[in-house]
Subunit: 284 residues, 2 copies
């Protein structure tokens, strides 16, 4: 193991009999220092456990989900690890990087940027898909079974990673995901600036387009609040519903009356998602 | 109902089938505007429900517990409302009020101040014990059964309110409470500045002293993390253990190995506390 793959423990907090730990490491794919959080359930002290990757939304870092979703309770019961990466490269100071909540820091969109000045560091697809999983397998007692979920921009990330790679994840789910970023303001701003004008480059990061492309047949499990302020302009779950129906792609889309875009929405339904993944991860 | 008793809805968020609401109101006892949070479980739409008062610790406001403790899941199942007051008067600018984390704003210590310039506004005992409960009974479907709990400074508050008033609360519990503030730096700083030098005034706000005084015989249920960084200097649960033993006061003190002072500790054991209170609130 090279120096660059070493982890520095930032904090360790006991939680539901297991441990929530934060680590800092040098991310080669992003060429910067990154911090991630991992929840290790009590079972991980005795055997290898499966892991759920959680990708967070705009403005979040590795901490929000662990603090607010209330997932550790059931993860500890099931014996499931959870890893939360950060949502963008950190500690840089690229021009305009910190100017808006929906682009740059806190808004990496889980893609590999092609345009300057972003292409050197903003490679969150590679970081989340390859580098961090490789680091995690080296350092933690994981049994090789992996599932993925996320919220909003992170729901987009989870769907894209799974739809591009059949078999890579045992299961995929999302809360209020951006399903058609090519046709939503958040996605268009990100894609234009990170990727450029070529729409062929955009399609590989758009869940609706990937369902049409049809590489994966993996079932999608999605919860969407009906009182979500971003529903009509940014999230558009009906787009995914339509392409899944047309392309015969299995989708469970639950519309939850009265729920908004917050972590209170996520917390209200996270147990359903953990149990869904637990089945595919062979914990149930 | 006078104008001063009206509530302004700040936000309403659906959570576990119920509603988390924040309200602003003019607090007469504090002579300032205050915000509090209430979680109303789904059962509250059909019938009156009991309430658990939650008093938070230093630096917190009405939001921390609702965001981080994960209590709504079981509260929704049990049919229990939860109300979180703020931890001090707000919106003032008294000399030195915002200078330290353990005194002034965010650190009201649930007492009625006697010294200038604090005595006009810093009357959190009256606010939490009388005014806010009265407001809550007027505006929400509460059935009159009340329990109380809290964390750290708020655990101190919960114990003091209950021990001074036999029968006022159906049950009381605490996480990592300051049990003997008269002999701990946080408490001494607060008591000296809010109350003055007269130790007779201090005793009515010290759980250990109140157990010795023996007005109440109500059982105390306490969780304390053994890896809590404040254990030896500020919290000193062994003091309470000793006076309870000496005075034959019922105490269940659970020392939890490895747990610290954070909300991750609270979240890990909040279900035990909710079930404990549910029994006394006649929900179980």
């Amino acid at each position: 193991m090279s120096m660059s793959e070493s982890l520095e423990l930032v904090s360790a907090t006991k939680s539901f009999g297991g441990w929530l730990k934060r680590y800092r490491h040098h991310a080669r794919s992003l060429d910067c220092e990154m911090v991630f959080s991992i929840y290790l359930p009590p079972q991980a002290e005795e055997r290898k456990v499966p892991v759920l990757w959680w990708l967070s939304g705009l403005t979040c870092n590795d901490e929000n989900f662990m603090q607010k979703a209330g997932a550790q309770r059931l993860a500890a019961e099931l014996g499931m690890a959870i890893i939360c990466p950060d949502t963008s490269p950190r500690g840089l100071d690229l021009p305009g990087e910190h100017d808006s909540y929906d682009f740059g820091s806190g808004a990496g969109f889980y893609l590999n940027a092609k345009r300057e000045p972003w292409s050197r560091h903003y490679r969150m697809y590679d970081y989340v898909n390859d580098e961090l999983p490789s680091v995690a397998r080296q350092h933690f007692p994981l049994n090789g079974r992996e599932a993925i979920s996320g919220h909003s921009m992170g729901g987009h990330g989870a769907l894209v990673l799974a739809l591009r790679q059949p078999g890579r994840f045992a299961s995929v789910s999302a809360f209020a995901p951006v399903v058609n970023p090519m046709d939503a303001p958040w996605g268009q701003k990100a894609f234009k600036n990170y990727l450029g004008e070529e729409r062929g480059d955009w399609r590989q990061y758009d869940a609706c387009e990937l369902v049409v492309k049809g590489v994966s047949r993996q079932p999608l499990f999605i919860d969407q609040g009906e009182a979500d302020a971003f529903l009509d302009e940014q999230l558009k779950p009906e787009r995914l519903e339509t392409v899944c129906r047309t392309n015969n792609h299995p989708l469970t889309l639950r519309r939850q009356p009265g729920y908004d875009h917050s972590y209170f929405f996520i917390a209200s339904f996270i147990d359903d998602h953990l149990r869904y993944h637990a089945k595919y991860l062979k914990l149930l």
